[in-house]
């Protein structure tokens, strides 16, 4: 026993490689929506407990990302977009990702239970389970509707934030969940229409490849139509108000117009203008979600001065 075997490996993983396992960009959306869910609730939360709760939600989301990378390493290696991820590029061993994913999941759920309440912790556990097991292990390789149901995992954070403050689930948190849940399919399929993907080569059924681009365009308009009543409806709950409603009406009209434009297009149109419309609608979808949750935050801030909401 003279020297450690780690010297056999040419590359030593650093903190950045482990951090990349947590999908930081996804985490930022989770932090934002989770924070809004917490701040718009009618129950005040101590700032430090709020900070710890958001940290737990972020770490939990990151942990599910690590578990996803562990399970999907074979797919990731076959796709250009994901081949540079820590596991397929050989910077992190699969076992390390599994260990980090499980350890951080346990840490986040237990700490959230101790810091806040069991409902919030259970919802976080369920989110991790849903993303790692239901989406990654089951749906992703089985059905082109994978992102529809799998989108639920990304929709839970505001519900967890709300549960952290109130200890309950209510119509407001269900509608915040539904907003992200219904937004995910048109957002993702708008992207799928203009990104040259190699999902087919990796064996992942994506709607654009299993059913074609025309069917995908129809799906974009149908899911956007289903999204509108959810987004508008949220405006009439206790966390909505005139500001939110005005933002929702404008953003939904904008998104719906984009989805309609996509629906009217053909592959020839896309080739001719290099997917100009699809790229624009994808960007609008990003503004859409940010604007809705931002408006909820503005309503909550106005309520502090007695001028927000419908009262």
């Amino acid at each position: 026993m003279s020297d450690v075997s780690a010297t056999d490996r040419t590359y030593e993983a650093n903190m950045g490689d482990y951090f990349a396992l947590l999908k930081p960009r996804v985490m930022s959306l989770v932090v934002f929506t989770g924070l809004v869910g917490l701040l718009v609730s009618p129950v005040p939360v101590h700032p430090f407990i709020g900070f710890v709760a958001i940290l737990c939600i972020a770490v939990g989301a990151g942990a599910s990302g690590a578990l996803n990378m562990w399970w999907d390493a074979d797919i990731d290696a076959r796709m250009k977009r994901t081949a540079g991820r820590p596991i397929p590029s050989g910077r992190v061993q699969p076992g390390e990702a599994l260990g980090i994913g499980l350890a951080l999941s346990g840490f986040a759920v237990v700490l959230l239970a101790l810091a806040t309440n069991f409902l919030a912790a259970f919802l976080l556990f369920f989110t991790i389970f849903f993303y790692a097991v239901v989406y990654s292990m089951w749906l992703k390789r089985a059905t082109p509707q994978n992102i529809v149901i799998g989108g639920a995992a990304g929709a839970f954070p505001p519900m967890i934030g709300w549960a952290v403050a109130t200890g309950s689930v209510s119509i407001e948190s269900v509608l915040m969940f539904a907003l992200i849940f219904m937004w995910t399919p048109p957002h993702f399929w708008a992207l799928a229409l203009f990104v040259k993907s190699d999902y087919g080569r990796a064996g992942v059924p994506m709607l654009t490849e299993t059913h074609g681009r025309d069917v995908t365009r129809k799906h974009v308009i149908v899911y956007t139509l289903l999204l509108v009543p959810v987004a508008i409806g949220l405006g009439f709950t206790s966390i909505g108000g005139p500001v939110y409603l005005a933002v929702a009406v404008v953003m939904n009209a904008w998104f719906l117009k984009g989805a309609y434009d996509i629906w009217q297009r053909t592959d020839a149109d896309c080739e001719a203008d290099k997917h100009k419309v699809e790229i624009k609608v994808f960007k609008v979808s990003l503004y859409y979600l940010f604007a809705h949750f931002g408006a909820l935050l503005i309503e909550a801030a106005l309520r502090l001065y007695g001028i927000g909401g419908w009262a």
């Binding site: 430090f48 407990i49 710890v52």
Partner: protein
């Protein structure tokens, strides 16, 4: 080959070790902070002592008075 006091692995893993150290320090801050906040939220410390492993009825006014 003997294990040196300054092994090359110390340099190679310096960043990672600092990272783990910072994470552990952060963890301590979180647990300490949570403890302080939770205890202060109880209002009076007697509320906390009430559940401190051993029953202390003398610090519970109502029950202490009835005995």
């Amino acid at each position: 080959m003997t294990i040196q006091v300054e092994h090359e692995i110390h340099n190679r893993r310096k960043g990672r070790n600092y990272g783990v150290g910072l994470l552990l320090a952060g963890f301590i801050v979180i647990i300490f902070g949570l403890t302080v906040v939770k205890v202060l939220q109880l209002g009076e410390v007697a509320q906390f002592e009430k559940f401190d492993h051993v029953a202390r009825p003398q610090i519970i006014p109502e029950e202490g008075a009835s005995e």
